[in-house]
Point group: C2
Chain length 345, copies 2
DNA sequence: CTGTTAGCGCCTTCAC
DNA sequence: GTGAAGGCGCTAACAG
């Protein structure tokens, strides 16, 4: 049951431990081809695996980055985790993902764990509640955020990677206006985070620029049940916001949801109220989560280039010098599907 | 930037490193309250965090289990990862999750990484392609699988935790029969894995027992595009199987899908063919993934008790003596929603 | 109850 | 190219 160690390999191969170490760290110049062969053979025969803990203890670095998400059960963050893992793998680095369940205490504990593991850096997928500890982390290792609270005043120390949220809602409005809509609503929970705030800004600017009505419908979290695991909340919030949407003062014929999860909820709510999509009402989301395409009707949305964003985040941590300075903004891509059409006559 | 170490704490607190170690490992009996207080204070003042690598090197154990899933972008496995993380946290243990993308080479590499990290055990969420290495792992650490290939002949060495698949399809058939259906189909990709095979068995037994027609519709993977990240495959497979379902020899009025992802695809396909659910056709899935409730119509399904299963899996690894011997089967729960109804007259 | 000490497995000089 | 040796931070004897 006990693992073979580097000396065992050295003995079997009939070489020194130094050579094994060199071999393991790809310093091939320093040995003859047949030495390499012998080592390779000995390693395979023994099923040898260098012990990560020992290596880390000696070198002081772990090839690991930490990822914090509200919950992996939330489809968007599952995809994000997957993208981050892929990005890290390109740097031969591993990812340790933690679900925080939006619990400040857990966020804190988890950051401490990451530090104890010697994580090279930490990436947070959504705005954390425990801002203090996040900021404190910046003193220890690079911190990259996909979203942060708008009240967070330590932006400079946290690298922010995100989609261009202003552009997202702008494009959404333009798409809807091109279709002929003259009154559009944006449905969102209270915009506490930078991402949401920017989406609101883009919405307001774009509707004003196009000279169409742009009403904000705030879906308040108080009346929806909290579900920490699945983040069902936004879905339920969307469903319950459907009625408010239809009775809004500006009589909107189309709505932009703050994200796809909410859009899907709105869609269900609208259908329950007898509206057909897109004939009676147009709906557009943001994110392009997997189920947007499987929705009925398939949801028009603005896709976040998650993989590119994950690559950038990982690069910030593992190769900070090759990365662009400051935050980075990625262009959203309009994916036209079947939930948007011309307004009813 | 360099982290404080145990000696620094000892010096500041004016005690020995042993006491610090005892303190860190909750051996409080061995010291006076004021010593504890001093230590606590010193730790906080220094922001001390014990180095995990050193601890692991010394004790030989990492408090970590590995989880292998096809992809975290797949909603079911995201939920599973979340459940496993929660279960492990109860044992103060961390989880390192890897997406294998069903690539045998990656499965192998990832298992090796897990070994190098000193994982206490490994859990695999779905049948792996690289069976040899999985079996080899059993010699090093406990291996728990939620599903394995039916050709895998090393079942004894791998603990299998799963829902009672025979019961799942049996309950599905019973529900449908109670509703009045006399001809039911089971839609599945080729049943290469134990889970699927059992589902087929339950279906055949139950339809036979009820004296109703039970046709198997095999959706072949060849005509659907492969999407490794999102496992869209099953969704697309379901969609394309809808036509075959309607033209099946036994004229089924209801279908059981091998899982919810496929059921959602079948539902879309059916609607595209002009069928209304559940008036014209009843549909039932297995899993109860998040989007089943958000589907239109909300999907009747058999829920897997994922959290309980994850708890059992983790317990197998971290407390094998307290765990039940052999594999464990969990009862699925019928969740009746709106995709099933009496057959059309 | 507290201090001292010897490694855990690996990496890296350094002399050979 | 090789072999020896020191030490990364922590734990667990063992003495006191």
């Amino acid at each position: 049951m006990s693992e073979p160690k580097i000396q065992d390999v050295a003995r079997l191969a009939g070489v020194s431990t130094t050579s094994i170490s060199n071999f393991l760290n790809n310093r091939m110049e320093q040995m003859r081809p047949d030495t390499q062969r012998k080592i390779q053979q000995a390693i395979e025969q023994l099923g040898y695996r260098p012990n990560n803990a020992a290596r880390q203890l000696k070198t002081g670095v772990a090839s690991m980055v930490g990822l914090l998400v509200p919950s992996l059960a939330n489809q968007f963050f599952g995809s994000l985790a997957c993208a981050v893992e892929t990005a890290a793998a390109r740097h031969h680095c591993h990812v340790m993902t933690f679900s925080t369940f939006r619990d400040p205490e857990r966020e804190r504990a988890v950051m401490a764990d990451l530090l104890a593991y010697g994580a090279q850096g930490i990436i947070t997928g959504s705005a954390l509640n425990d801002t203090d500890h996040l900021v404190a982390m910046t003193a220890r290792c690079p911190v990259v955020a996909f979203d942060i609270k708008r009240s967070d005043d330590s932006h400079e120390r946290i690298t922010t990677i995100s989609v261009d949220n202003v552009a997202a809602t702008t494009k959404a409005v333009e798409h809807l206006v091109a279709l002929g809509h003259r009154s559009i609503a944006l449905v969102t929970p209270p915009p506490y985070t930078l991402n949401r705030q920017d989406r609101v800004k883009g919405f307001q600017q774009a509707t004003a620029a196009a000279g169409v009505s742009g009403e904000l419908v705030i879906a308040d979290a108080t009346d929806a049940p909290t579900d920490l695991h699945g983040d069902t909340q936004l879905f339920e919030l969307g469903r319950s916001a459907a009625a408010r949407l239809l009775s809004a003062a500006s009589k909107p014929t189309a709505a932009i949801a703050i994200n796809d999860m909410m859009a899907i909820g709105i869609g269900i709510g609208l259908k329950q109220l007898g509206k057909r999509l897109p004939q009676d009402f147009s709906l557009i989301g943001i994110d392009d989560i997997f189920f947007s395409a499987a929705n009925d009707p398939p949801l028009t949305t603005l896709r976040q280039p998650i993989q590119a964003m994950a690559d950038a985040a990982v690069q910030r941590i593992l190769a900070p010098n090759t990365a662009t300075a400051g935050g980075e903004l990625f262009a959203p891509e309009l994916i036209v599907r079947a939930s948007t059409a011309a307004p009813p006559k």
